[in-house]
Symmetry: C2
Subunit: 229 residues, 2 copies
Amino acid sequence: MNRKQQAYEFLKKAIVSGAIPAGAPVREMDLAAELKMSRTPIREAMRELEAEGVLKSYPARGTFVVPLNPSDVEEIYELRALHELWAIERSFDRFTEEELSFVERTFDESYRKSDWETWHQADRLLHRLIIEKSGSGRLLAFVNMLNTQMDRIRGVSAAKDVSRFETSYREHMEIIALIRKRDLPKCKDALRSHLRSVANSAIESSRNVYVDLERAMGGLSTLEDIPRV
Amino acid sequence: MNRKQQAYEFLKKAIVSGAIPAGAPVREMDLAAELKMSRTPIREAMRELEAEGVLKSYPARGTFVVPLNPSDVEEIYELRALHELWAIERSFDRFTEEELSFVERTFDESYRKSDWETWHQADRLLHRLIIEKSGSGRLLAFVNMLNTQMDRIRGVSAAKDVSRFETSYREHMEIIALIRKRDLPKCKDALRSHLRSVANSAIESSRNVYVDLERAMGGLSTLEDIPRV
DNA sequence: TGAAGACATATTGTCGACAATAAATATTCA
DNA sequence: TGAATATTTATTGTCGACAATATGTCTTCA
C-alpha cells in the first residue's frame, strides 16, 4: 500500500470514528509528522476526502472536517432511499439463493449473539448487494460517499438502541423473504419503510448529538474554527 | 486563479471537447511542459478529474481518459432522469416568475436565431434550476459529474440535429408552462418524456461514434493504450 | 484613542530533484 | 531455441525547500 493510501485510511478512520470531530481543522504538517511522511501524500489523501465531501479546504487557511447538522443527515438518508429503491428494481431478479441465505445466516448469527459488529456487517452486506447488483458503477460510487457520511453519524451517535435491534432484524428478514418470493411491490414497500425508520432514528440521534455539542461548549468551540465563507 | 485550477480548466476543456479523445493517455510531464508549471498542480487537477470519473489512473503506468461506451451513456442518462425527476418534486413550488420567464426568453432567443450556443445555455439553465432548487448540495455535486460526462458525449457526437431543435423547443416550453400551472403530475410526465427522448438521441449518436471509432481503426488504437486491469 | 498601514505568523501552494515501480527489452544459459 | 532472468525505460510516487497568501498583531501618528 502506498503512502497516500495509508494516509487516506488513517485519516478516514479518524474522522469516521469521531476521533477528529466535525468542524475540527486537519493540518497537513501535523499529519505528516504523525505518519512520518512528507506532506505530498497527505495532501492527496486530503483532496480525495474533500472530493468525497468529508473535508472542506480553504486556501491558506486550513482544511476542516465538514459538520453534519440534522438537516444534512436528513438529506443523506433521503438520497440513500432514492437510490436504494431505484437500485432494487434493477437488481431484484439477480439475487442468488446463496447470497440471500448467506446474508440471512449473518443476520441470524448477529441476532443470536446480540453482536453489533456482526449486525453491522450483515446490514452492510444486504444494502451493498442491492446497490451492486443494479449494475451501475456510478451509482455505487455515489452511494459509497453517502455511506461514509452515515458511518460518521453512527460513529458519534453510537445509536446502539436495543429495541431497534429486534425491529431491524425483523425488517431485514421480511425484505429477504420478499426477494425470495419475487414480490417486488411488497418488497419495495418493506424496504421503503425500513429505510424510513432507520433514517428517523439517525436523524433523532443526530439531533441529540447536535444539542449536546452546543450545550457542552456554550457558543460552539470546534465549530468556531470553521472560517465564515 | 491558482495553477491547479488553471490546469483543471485546461484539461477538462480538452477532454470535454474531445481534443484529448477517450482512451488516450494524459501524461503529467507533457501537460506540465505545455502549461509551463510543475507536475504538482497538474497532478492535483488530474486527481480531481479522476474523482469525477473522467480519468482513471494506474500506478506507474499512466492516466487515461475513461471511454464511454453506449451502455455507459445509457447509465448516465438513466441516473440523470432519476435525479431530475426526484428534484423537481422538491423544487416545484420554488420557481419564481422571473426565473421562468428568463429561461423562456433565452429559449425563444435561441429558437429565433437558431443558435446552438444560446440553446445550450437555456437548456443548462432550466435543468440546473430544477436541481439547484431541490436544495440538495450533494445531489447537485453528483449531477454535475453526470453533466460533465454528458458534455463529453455532446462534444464528440455534435448531435446538432435540426429536427431535435424544434422538438426540444416545444418540450421545454411545455415543461415551463406546466410549472407555471403548478401541475406537478403532468409536468413530471412531460419532463420524463423529454428526458427519454434526449437520452435516446444521445445513446443513438454515441452508438454511431462508437462504431465509427472501431471501423476507423480496425482493431482500435486509442483504446488499446488502456491497460487491461 | 483608534484607524491605517507595516510586519509577523500560520497555513496551504508550487517547485525541481530523486525514489519506486511496472512494463518492455535485452541477455543468459540449458 | 526459448524460458528464465537481468537491464533499461517510461511513468508515477515522494521528498524537502521555498513561495504565496490570508489572517492576526503590532506600530505609528493624527
